[in-house]
Amino acid sequence: MKLITHNMLTSKCMKGVTVGYPLKIQAVDVKTSEVDFNPEFISRLIPKVDWNVLCEAAESVGFLDDLPRELIENYENDVDFLKKAHRVLLEVDIINGELVCPETGRKFPINNGIPNMLLNEDEV
């Protein structure tokens, strides 16, 4: 699971959960894998990302490095910044671990890099 996916996932479809966002990450196995870098696309993607949630997620798995916690101005033209954003959004990969609902503590397993968000019948 890449951090872009984490940025988009909630547990709000669970019974009794109102926001369910952001999910906490408990990572067991984290890798990075190289993905082709497209600066123009990354700058189009950034406005759709919850930047605080991204930075906290990156920090919690030990990959914040020197990514600025505040979005910088004119990032469209800052290739160095876009490269760092690309890395945390698309290259850091949680292979095994858990996502945890912030309201109920319900754990969702991540195996082989795939989060399992399925609920039991009595949870919906």
Binding site: T5, T10, F37, F41, K48, I114, L119
Partner: protein
């Protein structure tokens, strides 16, 4: 512009829907609509119920790094298979095991769904391979769940493509979607042995593109 069929290998994945006529019709329909899809400049594309993953992978190969690709399936083995298909074709598809799109907080520019559309008893909708085809009454149980929430997950200028069967009553589906604020049209139709298949395109009303 064309969408060649990606490489895939289902050997290790016996409970995954094998790409069939409906799958290939779906890819043909997307191929025919590619110019329109380009004009939307999509940044996030989602396939619900990706199965083998060849539909979303064909788009990922086409758009490469200009776009992100997401896939969900209720069958965990299908998620693994989709991930492998993307890998075999040198692209990335972000897979999550979930029911439809219920765990997404964000919206998508393009949403694709080739649903379980076969008319069956509701009780036949059960885990594993059954989930890939069993659609309950009129084949509409999963289709209706999907369409009733579409508005929440599709961007205002976005587009949704869905496969349906004649028995699903596509014209009735389109009338219902009108009430929910969508304009629909049939972009592809094919009669194959025992099945009359449609690909329907849904666009939010007020979207002039």
């Amino acid at each position: 512009m064309s969408l060649p069929t990606p490489i895939y290998d289902l050997k290790q994945f016996d409970s995954v829907y094998e790409p069939s006529e409906d799958t290939f019709l779906f890819i043909d329909a997307l191929e025919a609509d590619l110019e329109y899809i380009h004009s939307l400049r999509p940044s996030c594309i989602l396939e619900v119920g990706s199965g083998s993953g060849i539909v979303i992978t064909s788009l990922a190969r086409h758009f490469q790094t200009q776009c992100l690709f997401f896939a969900t399936d209720i069958n965990p083995v299908a998620c693994l298979c989709t991930k492998q298909t993307a890998y075999l074709n040198n692209v990335v598809v972000h897979c999550t095991n979930m029911n439809l799109y219920c765990n997404f907080k964000s919206i998508f520019d393009i949403i694709l769904f080739n649903p379980p559309y076969v008319c069956t008893e509701d009780s036949e909708i059960k885990p594993g391979i059954n989930r890939s085809w069993a659609g309950g009454r009129d084949g509409r149980i999963i289709i209706d769940q999907f369409l009733s929430q579409l508005k929440l997950f599709l961007s205002d200028s976005g587009v949704c493509y869905m496969v349906a069967l004649k028995e699903n009553k596509p014209y009735e589906i389109m009338a219902t979607m009108k009430v929910l604020g969508f304009n629909s049209c049939i972009i592809k139709e094919r009669r194959i042995l025992g099945e009359h298949l449609f690909v329907i395109r849904f666009i939010k009303e007020g979207n002039l593109k």
